[in-house]
Amino acid sequence: MPAIVIGLMNAKPLEWAEKYRPRVLTELAGHPNIVKELLGWGQGWEKGIPKDRALILYGKPGIGKTSAAFALANQMEWDVIELNASDQRTASIIQKVAGSASMMGTFDGTSGRRLVILDEADNLHGNYDRGGARAIINVVKNTKQPLILIANEFYDMDSALRLACKPVQFRVMNNTTMVNVLKSICRQEGVMAGVGVIEQIADNAGGDLRSAINDLQAIAIGKHELDVDDIVTAPRDTRETVFRAMDKIFKASDMRSAQEAAWHVDESPDNLINWIDENLPVGYTDERDMSAGFCQLSRADQFLGRVRIRQNYRLWRYASLFMTGGVAAVKTRNYTGYNKYQAPQFWKKLGQTRAKRNIRDSLAGKIGGICHVSKRYARSDLIWFFKHMMNSKEHAVDVAAELEMNPDEIAFLLDTKASTKKVKTIYESAQQLIQARVEHDIEVFGGFTHTAPVDEHQLELDLIEADNNGDADEPLEDNIASKGDTKNQSSLFDF
């Protein structure tokens, strides 16, 4: 009995790519070594649970990874289940579906085999597939059934996942293989192809067999004879690595080719700008070119800002134009040779500086409050001024007291660490100053009444006194302790 193959053997597939999908591994075109490897792995499962329980099949789109997985299952007469990007893949769904499927036998008993296919395993989508990656690792580690992960980019997957599975790389199809497949489809469909037609289609597809079959079908609709002139489909857009695109942008001889390089990359302008920003100094070694390049980038960034504020994504086109064509056009000489480009450090740096930025923002809030300006203005236009004041012996303590700064904030303005003596001295003097002011206030205002406001001051005074030893965490504890004292609650240890 052939295994139940879901979504594959539907009544009448309209697409040729589906119709001529290989049913068994031996029909799989272009990957003889992989066929051997997969069959060996499959036979291993017939004898028990082998050492490699999970495989990762990876390679470009349209070259037979998914087909190979289904064909293997069909040939081994295994049951199959598949989870791909059209299913939601949160941790709980993966656990429930892939987890159950990989831990349990089939309706033929515990010796029955079921192939679990996780397609597009490198494409888990942030929040939508929350926790999915970790759940997949769990499934891989505990599986008792054959498991195949399919991905385009091996290195887009978590390293723990890569280590837990055996990788199998699918290489791009060569043209001869594709031509053979296309010719055989033509024969079966009763289509006569003229000289060079098939070759041209295969060439246009750039190694992607599925695209080639789709193109062939598109051309052949309603025809029995094909001529080279019938080929109306353009060469396929091929996805390029962002590194190649960097090279093309910096070395482009005209704006158009720089722009086109960006189209072929799978990055949005607000990501791409970080890449160009990071690599501009690598690409343009001439200082004048570099500065002109950054000028263009800043123009692009203005448009990105407008996109954000107005939510008008049509402005992306201008941002892209400046960051690719603009950057390419301003250079004064041609650059050649190999450059080592690197991934943007921007996001990493944002993570590393989070603590520091939080201090800056809280400080800007305090400055804004006292100067009656926005936090944003204080942050960009006033902090330097406060830095200057903090560096003068005359004003440092006054400023610190006025803004009620904590040691971290003082250290930020002085560009040192919170543990240095200088920071400590300023902080303690500032606290004394605050205390003296509060005492003065009580003297002046405290005489009138002994109701609630005075009590509040009293409490604050306790806090400040305890605060003198300079540690930010302690006053709270002392405060609670002193509160406890006033309650007169005796404890068991008092006796």
Partner: protein, 245 residues
């Protein structure tokens, strides 16, 4: 064409028996009643349900199939009182299911049956042992096991039906002798199952007077019981778990 009137309780039972396995199902209609067959997304649990036309107060249907979102339907059935009758009718023009209950009318969109997972072939299994017990006892056994583990072993030893669950540190064993059971046919039986699925299944099975289990050695379990006052039948099939070495 499809029009039926049924007690709300019976309809709720029917939906619950299937919705514990899948969220969407294809209802196969014939003049004699309706059947549903479905397999869960992981291909480990299967349900096959038949409701004869005499379970309904009124039933007219021609051959056909309806794709139904079971969660949606069960949500709406929550509005129906216990003793109430519910009228179901297919509006063929808009291809919607009309549900009427004491003055309330819903029109719910149906799913394209082609978009629902293919119905499974029901495997022909001859299982050596068979146990009949009350639904309540079955429910209790599963509940007891859930306290210590997430899987359970069910087996037959002589004329005793036993259930064992073993967690990381704790164990549970329940023996049911012949006189505690309604019937037992001895045979070589010992298989491990996931409690996740079993507890979903006993939600429905627990309400039945008689539940029949069929077991084998490292084979799936069949759970059969009647619903809708004897005019309907549910068969579950659950694949065994593979034991750790």
């Amino acid at each position: 064409m499809f029009k039926a009137i049924i007690e709300s309780e019976k309809l709720k039972e029917t939906i619950e028996a299937v919705s514990s396995i899948v969220d969407e199902a294809k209802l196969n209609l014939t003049p004699d009643g309706l059947t549903i067959r479905a397999v869960d997304p992981a291909n480990v649990a299967m349900v096959s349900l038949t409701i004869k036309s005499n379970a309904f107060e009124e039933f007219t249907a021609t051959d056909g199939e309806l794709g139904v979102d079971l969660n949606r339907l069960s949500d709406i059935m929550g509005m129906a009182e216990k003793a109430e009758t519910v009228e179901l009718e297919l509006d063929e023009e808009s291809h919607k299911l009309v549900i009427r209950m004491s003055g309330l009318t819903y029109k719910i969109a149906l799913l394209d049956p082609a978009s629902i997972r293919k119905e499974p072939k029901i495997p022909q299994l001859e299982l050596p042992a068979s146990i009949t017990l009350s639904g309540n006892d079955m429910k209790r056994a599963v509940k007891a096991a859930e306290k210590v583990s997430d899987h359970i072993t069910m087996g037959v030893d002589g004329e005793t039906f036993y259930l064992e669950a073993e967690g990381d540190s704790d164990r549970m064993r329940l023996d049911m002798l012949k006189d505690q059971l309604i019937g037992i046919k001895s045979g070589d039986a010992h298989s491990l199952f996931s409690l996740d699925y079993l507890s979903d299944m006993v939600k429905s099975a627990g309400k039945a007077n008689e539940v029949t289990l069929e077991l084998g050695k490292d084979f799936p379990v069949k759970i059969n019981f009647q619903i809708a006052g004897g005019s309907g039948e549910v068969n579950y099939l659950l694949a065994p778990r593979i034991e750790s070495d």
